[in-house]
């Protein structure tokens, strides 16, 4: 008989996010409730949560780029990135982000997925460039338009990363697929799996590029 009680932990998280409660508290509460439902004692729950946090410290490493990003902002890097875009006659937000999408997919596909990202490239370079291009197309941006352009800059990084990295056969997700299927007796070569990531990668590029061109049209139409 399958035990459905652990799903209460999920319900707590969904409710907490929907109510926009502080996610740190929501996650902690859900972790404690889930652990107790699983039959752990209170101390054991805290220990399990702590051990998992310690095992996942690799996630915190990326923040070491912040001092460099901050220093460069101090000397006007965002302004410089915007100035370059203003000097290019044909630059638009959509074209710029399509180019970045392609770059992100291609570098991720050859295993270089950690060389770009939100702190490393989006905040200091891609977002200010996208904003400058939008201002060229549109004139002064409303706050809502500026928010949308910045959100698209971040979204483009995610789409490029997710639908590029699986073409690289030595990435974690490919290894996971392979390991999972081996336990059922299907021993696949990682390369075979990576190959099947290509059609989706192309579809992701087409769909997201199309949306970026629509963004361009929206910006141009609302503008001068």
């Amino acid at each position: 008989m399958i035990n459905y009680w652990p799903l209460i932990g999920i319900a707590l998280v969904v409710a907490g996010f929907a109510l926009k409660l502080n996610p740190m508290l929501v996650v902690t509460a859900s972790a404690i409730v889930t652990g107790l439902i699983a039959g752990m004692g209170p101390v054991e729950v805290v220990e399990t949560f702590g051990k998992a946090f310690n095992d996942n410290r690799i996630i915190a490493i990326v923040w070491i780029v912040l001092p460099v990003v901050g220093l460069l902002e101090r000397f006007g890097l965002q302004q410089r990135a915007a100035a370059v875009i203003r000097s290019l006659r044909n630059a638009t937000t959509g074209r710029l982000l399509i180019l970045y999408l392609l770059y992100r997919q291609l570098t991720a596909a050859i295993g270089l997925h950690s060389t770009a990202g939100h702190p490393q490239t989006v905040r200091p370079l891609v977002a200010p460039m996208a904003l400058a291009a939008a201002e060229k197309q549109h004139g002064e941006l409303s706050e809502a338009d500026a928010e949308e352009v910045k959100a698209f800059a971040a979204a483009t990084d995610n789409v490029g990363l997710f639908f590029g990295e699986d073409i690289f056969f030595a990435i974690g997700s490919i290894v996971l697929i392979q390991q999972t299927l081996v336990t059922y007796g299907y021993n696949l070569a990682p390369l075979e799996l990576a190959l099947w990531a290509i059609p989706t990668a192309i579809a992701a590029f087409v769909i997201h590029s199309f949306r970026l061109m629509l963004l361009d049209r929206r910006l141009a139409r609302n503008g001068r």
């Binding site: 990003v69 270089l112 639908f163 996971l176």
Partner: protein, 317 residues
């Protein structure tokens, strides 16, 4: 050997400096809250292996309490004004991009050189971690280059870093919290429960509908867990292997590879994937913390449909 522990030391030292500078910042209304919060992060990175599981657990509860009850906030360390930045950008010109490129170029060339030349032959870097190590090296080189060229005040990298980390706030720690929650979900058997729920909705005999439930299940379960990695083994066990591969004879490479990508469509649509969706919203100072997700939904949904069609067409040729 250089590996993650070296990087934990580097990151830990940085967070310790953020904590100290927060405590000394008299202009900051929540300076001791911020000092405690980043101090706990420093303790985790520097001493996480020494304080035991319970110690780490209490540390996490401390982080959650400080963040959840409003003890931390933004800071305003001294930096340049917008006008000064415009002037500096004009004076320095495009050379300003060179130090910005040091980090990605070091990570890129370092990774390539390590894997494809004799540089990696001796195995002096922990396996599979070379990109992180070269990322760290790139950070140090970039700071060195900026100091040699532009001579900022000695504390500027740490103060500027603190300005940014305080703007991000608890969102910087949330991804690690969610990964830990995933471990508890797994221990409690959430995967089994979801898998059995999914099997209940499968109509008998229709390959296409089974594929659709598999793809949707990957996306929805990924949205719940924040991570396609957690969803894949569950959906493979519930539907992918017993029904699609065994019963209907689908190609396991297609079912596996594209099934995972259907999950990635879910990652684009959930706040649970905080490091991809909530962290950039904080980092770009968006008013709407779900702004990035909103920008992604219209890419994710058609792509999910295409993934389902791809599995149906390619796995059952």
């Amino acid at each position: 050997m250089i590996g993650l522990h070296t990087l934990y030391l580097l990151a830990g030292a940085m967070f310790a400096a953020f904590a100290l500078l927060s405590a000394l910042d008299r202009s900051h209304p929540k300076r001791f809250g911020n000092a405690a919060f980043w101090g706990l992060m420093a303790l985790s990175l520097l001493g996480g292996d020494a304080i035991g599981d319970l110690g780490n657990g209490l540390l996490v509860l401390g982080l959650a309490g400080l963040a959840g009850f409003g003890f931390i906030g933004r800071s305003n360390p001294a930096t340049t004004t917008m006008a000064e930045r415009e002037v500096s950008s004009e004076q320095l010109g495009n050379r300003l991009f060179l130090p910005a490129l040091i980090i990605p170029v070091t990570a890129l060339l370092g990774t390539l050189a390590y894997n494809y030349t004799l540089l990696g032959g001796t195995g002096w870097i922990e396996a599979k971690r070379e990109t992180y190590v070269f990322l760290g090296l790139g950070v140090l080189l970039a700071i060195g280059a900026i100091f040699a060229w532009l001579r900022p005040p000695a504390l500027a990298p740490l103060q500027e870093g603190r300005r940014l980390i305080d703007a991000i706030g608890w969102a910087a720690v949330l991804p690690q919290m969610l990964a830990s929650l995933g471990v508890l979900f797994a221990a409690a058997g959430v995967g089994d429960a979801i898998g059995s729920l999914t099997r209940m909705v499968i109509p008998d005999g229709s390959i296409f509908l089974t594929v659709a439930v598999f793809g949707l299940g990957m996306a929805i379960f990924t949205m719940v867990m924040g991570n396609a990695f957690a969803a894949f083994p569950v959906m493979a066990a519930a539907i992918g292997v017993p029904l699609l591969i065994k019963q209907y004879g689908g190609d396991p490479a297609v079912v596996g590879a594209i099934g995972m990508l259907a999950g990635f469509c879910g990652t684009l649509m959930t706040p649970m994937a905080a490091n991809f969706n909530l962290v950039p919203a904080a980092l770009l100072e968006l008013k709407d913390q779900y702004g990035v997700i909103r920008a992604q939904i219209a890419t994710a949904l058609p792509l999910l449909a295409i993934n389902i069609l791809l599995i149906y067409v390619a796995a059952f040729r």
